[in-house]
């Protein structure tokens, strides 16, 4: 049975896990980048990143001090059955985490109108819901979003853009973020849809497995050439030079119209995110 208590427990655990561990796909991508990196100092930084990830996991420490703001994606299968209020469960899970987590979190949530700081805010946590068709489970992804994964996002609405226009905009966003967002980053791109869907597509694209190949050939080719292009900028690990500025460019798209919003967002090198699958019978499977 998927009930409120289970959802609360799972979402709390996902947040805590996301703070303490660099996901396995990202570790693999960093190791691969370490082998391919051309600059000695950049290789040293990538080694340091891998060591930091290992130490945090072994010693159950946070990878970063900024626990960010809680962002959850809830994907509900058509045959999923649950009891209770999912939003309330996630909200309570985060509140309980704040009270009990060791080491304690810092007050990273603010009221944007007054700058008052705390652990809670209006409409928090950020929860987006998707309906995923024929499945007897609910997938929950938890992503603590801080500066490196939030601040440098960019969106622009074009009129019937060419791929050339879109790729030039993506490169501009990459150069604008430059050294600032704890590279090497995952770049997420959303093309088309309406304004909020475009942003959602870009954000979700960052959640995709690093190193996975896009099933759409046109996007797979685009991702490959943009990864090469982004790494040719030279910003490198931590933005102090090198040939590894991104670990991947992930692109998704939706229906279009004469107007086409394009969104670009980033996830910093620790690429923290955690996902669990809750089955109707109460089983919980960690996806990553």
């Amino acid at each position: 049975m998927i009930d409120e208590a289970l959802i609360q427990e799972v979402t709390e655990d996902l947040y805590s896990a996301a703070l303490r561990r660099v996901p396995p796909d990202t570790i693999r991508a960093l190791e691969k980048a370490r082998h391919q990196e051309e600059h000695e100092s950049a290789r040293a930084t990538l080694d340091l990143m891998l060591r930091s990830a290992q130490l945090a996991e072994e010693n159950d420490k946070f990878v970063c001090s900024d626990s960010g703001v809680p962002v959850y994606l809830v994907e509900i299968g058509a045959r999923a059955r649950w009891q209770g209020d999912i939003k309330q469960a996630i909200t309570r899970g985060f509140a309980h985490l704040v009270e009990t987590i060791t080491p304690p979190l810092l007050k990273h949530v603010n009221n944007p109108l007054t700058n008052e700081r705390g652990f809670a805010g209006k409409d928090m946590p950020s929860i987006s819901v998707d309906l995923i068709g024929d499945a007897d489970y609910i997938d929950i992804t938890c992503v603590p979003k801080a500066l490196g994964s939030g601040r440098w996002a960019s969106i622009k609405t074009f009129i019937s853009p060419s791929l050339e226009d879109i790729e030039a905009f993506i490169m501009e966003a990459i150069i604008e973020a430059g050294s600032q967002h704890c590279p090497p980053v995952i770049v997420g791109v959303g093309i088309g849809g309406n304004f909020d869907l475009t942003a959602k597509l870009a954000n979700r694209a960052t959640y995709r497995e690093v190193g996975s190949v896009n099933p759409e050939p046109i996007l797979a080719a685009m991702e490959e050439r943009l990864t090469e292009a982004a790494n040719a900028t030279g910003f490198g690990p931590m933005g102090v030079g090198g040939s590894t500025s991104v670990l991947g460019v992930h692109i998704d798209y939706a229906f279009g119209h004469g107007y086409t919003p394009v969104a670009v967002c980033f996830n910093c090198w620790i690429n923290r995110r955690a996902k669990a699958r809750l089955y109707n019978d109460g089983r919980v499977e960690r996806i990553f």
Partner: protein, 208 residues
Amino acid sequence: MAVHHLTCPPEREAVDQLAVGDLVYITGEIVVTGGLPAHKRLIASLDAGIPLPMKIEGTFIHLPHMVEETPDGYEIHYVNPTTSTRFDEFMPRLIEALDLRIVGGKGGLGAASVAAMQKTGCVYLSLLGGGSAILSAAIKEVLQVEWRDFPSHFRLSRLRVEGLGPLTVGIDAHGHSVYQTLESNARERLPQILARLADRRETFSQEQ
């Protein structure tokens, strides 16, 4: 890639020798904060001639920190750098007024700060973002915490560190900034990068 071990506060000569890209480990007392309010209060104090609550001897790093006061003293839970460019408008004044030798954080500082650093003889050290486990282990003691009306990471704290590093010299004391160089290089390369993208688009569409 030279490796240096500096004792804080460092002599100007030691700082003058550092080149962009060098690695540095620092030992000694450093003052840290991660907050905009702390920067504003520092500037307001300097403007009003109010003495600062602690002596800032040459080293000032953008390092948010989770410190708790316990009956046995301060307990340091973790530290991790924050983006220094957020403080760009305050840093030139602080670098000059406090005669700083080392500033640091992540992401670098802008042109006005680079000029101020050249005047005082100061370098910018890049700390690993997401390096909390490594960096926190180098914090040996919390010596002083002030401005407790702010959340922990925004307070002004004086720490004793041993072998904090490796940190990368991002800006040297002679006006060279890896951040400025990399940004202008990327802008210069952009036309070629876009041309290469166009070639690859063309190749892909021919293959289809």
